[in-house]
């Protein structure tokens, strides 16, 4: 609404409402910055202040950093299917504070997320940083995508999603939960999870986890919690849980696992594994538990047990 006020003429306002939502800038995308958030009217149902509610499908772009001040307040709330949010290199920052390290690491509690798209489909979020929210950095619904995103120091986790989601080139660091936690039929590629309080990466049935690095997380490095997962070409190093945990019918190939405290590789009895390189240490002595060994696995420079 602020743009309509500033433009001032009824004719122009009419054209805007016909042709594009309020604040449509170059490329037709709706612009969001701290001033817009404070004024409201980013979409027709958006009230002044946070959260900025996106109740129309379309494409949105940040034109400045956003900062919230209430741990129970989300920055952006998606209320329509088919919303794309380009952070354009900017940061969305909440007020949650994290302190401590390792087992003493903790963040402020609260219910505010960076972007909350719970229950919506076809949300795409990319191109910036989301940090300091007491809940998750990002909550996704079904069939959504995050890429080129940094999620740091959020209180319950980096990103949580429903089924059929894709995460690509996501860096989830020091979140007080899992770094990347997606549902069934997830694809997670080329991502980095580091020093999260729980698992680095989690997926459910039919998860495909390829080319990721998970290090020094408080839980498992990578985890396929249900069945039929493909976990390939990842590194899992110095995680407090299992390096890789995989369920019924999973396949675990060509991963490098080192110094993961609970077990380096923990598999359901029917999961297969091949061509992994596993290195134990005095504080992480268990190389492999469970699974069916295919060829080419190397445990501490020798055959796997």
């Amino acid at each position: 609404m602020s743009l309509m006020r500033s433009l001032g003429t009824p004719v122009t306002v009419g054209l805007i409402s016909l042709a594009a939502p309020a604040f449509a800038g170059a490329e037709g995308r709706i612009e969001i910055n701290q001033v817009d958030a404070a004024i409201g009217g980013v979409t027709p149902g958006d009230a002044p202040g946070f959260p900025v509610t996106l109740d129309r499908p379309g494409s949105y772009v940040l034109t400045g950093n956003l900062a919230t001040s209430d741990v129970n307040e989300s920055a952006l709330r998606v209320l329509a299917d088919g919303v794309t949010i380009d952070l354009a290199g900017f940061q969305i920052e909440g007020p949650a504070l994290c302190s401590g390290s390792g087992e003493t690491f903790g963040c402020s509690s609260g219910s505010g997320s960076g972007i909350d798209a719970t229950g919506r489909q076809r949300t795409a979020i990319h191109g910036g940083t989301i940090r300091g929210f007491a809940d998750y950095g990002v909550r996704l619904g079904d069939a959504s995508r995050v890429f080129d995103l940094r999620l740091r120091r959020n209180g319950r986790g980096g990103v949580i999603g429903s089924d059929r989601c894709i995460a690509r080139s996501v860096h989830a660091l020091e979140n007080d939960g899992a770094g990347i936690d997606l549902g069934h039929s997830a694809v997670v590629v080329d991502s980095l999870t580091h020093r999260n309080a729980e698992a680095g990466i989690e997926g459910d049935f039919a998860a495909v986890l390829i080319g990721n690095a998970s290090q020094t997380n408080g839980g498992d490095g990578l985890s396929g919690l249900f069945g039929g997962n493909v976990i390939h070409a990842n590194t899992a190093v110095e995680n407090a849980g299992n390096g890789i945990r995989a369920s019924d019918g999973a396949l675990v190939t060509r991963n490098v696992l080192q110094a993961n405290e609970t077990r380096n590789l923990f598999l359901n009895a029917s999961a297969g594994y091949a061509r992994n390189v596993i290195t134990s240490t005095a504080s992480s002595p268990v190389t492999v538990v469970g699974g069916v060994a295919l060829d080419g696995n190397l445990c501490d420079n020798g055959a796997c047990p």
């Binding site: 490329e27 037709g28 379309g58 076809r122 039919a206 019918g249 029917s270 091949a274």
Partner: protein, 323 residues
Amino acid sequence: MIRMDSMRRGARRSLRREARRRRSAALSAVVGMVAGGAAAEDGAIEIHQIRALAGSVVPGDAPGFPVTIGRSGRYRLTSNLVVSSPGISAIRVDAPDVVLDLNGFSIEGPNVCTGEGETLDCGPIGSANGVFATQENVVVRNGTLRGFSSNGASFASGFRAIDLFLTENAIHGLSSSGDGEVQGCVAFRNGFAGLSPGRRSNLLHNVASGNGTNGIQAAQGTRIVGNSLWQNGGRGISLANSGLSGGLVEHNAVVDNGGDGMLIGDGVLAISNSIRANGGNGLSVVLGAAYGYNNVRANGGITITVTGGDVASNVCEGNLSCP
């Protein structure tokens, strides 16, 4: 105190500059939308709903849908496009070498699907596509193609489909007559296959789920790597032609589909896939196909249908003694 006042003045100046910039940008957008035919600063030609209805996006484009792109170049959506008639495509590309950036927007038709996978019903089939490319080397990326009576996207050869959501299209999410690349797409709840590319295509890191028939329906020489196929009504992956098929199927999760987990034809190598809890056979193998390092588990039919094609060990029902 003087420094604080100076900072406040600076902040106010910044806000005024921002307001001026936004007014200018918004007015430019409005003028462009009404005038039609203008290119953006980077040379891309902008397409939006009003311009689509007005016509002349490029010379030869008649008013209304489909927007016809008859010249090579770069195009960008600057609004969602909504087509209300069930028989009409949204964008028709009749020139080679076109890049169409959906810019995060959606192209939507009126088709609606109910149910999912084996229970999916997408209504009557027609001839409308979200994007219908008749020429080679067309790129479409970053947006949604939803609700058309034929395919979400239909391509010739040399295409690229990147980061698309493809859903509720009555036939396929994506179809092509020739080779191309599909990467980072989510194809779900389409009436037939999620992804049905032509020969010698490359499918990387996609999700195909809840589609009416096969998740991926591929043809000779196709490479299918790192995809998740879950709860489709037919097979998870089908790559088998009459005669020589060829192709590579690697690192895919094929789970809980209604038909076979995977059908691979002569000359296809299926390697390092998880094939679990599908309604039909786990791995249906045509003579001449090869397979290794797969985990085939708890499928409704035969675990692996043909012996002798194994190029490496597989895990079947939790052990290495596969048929």
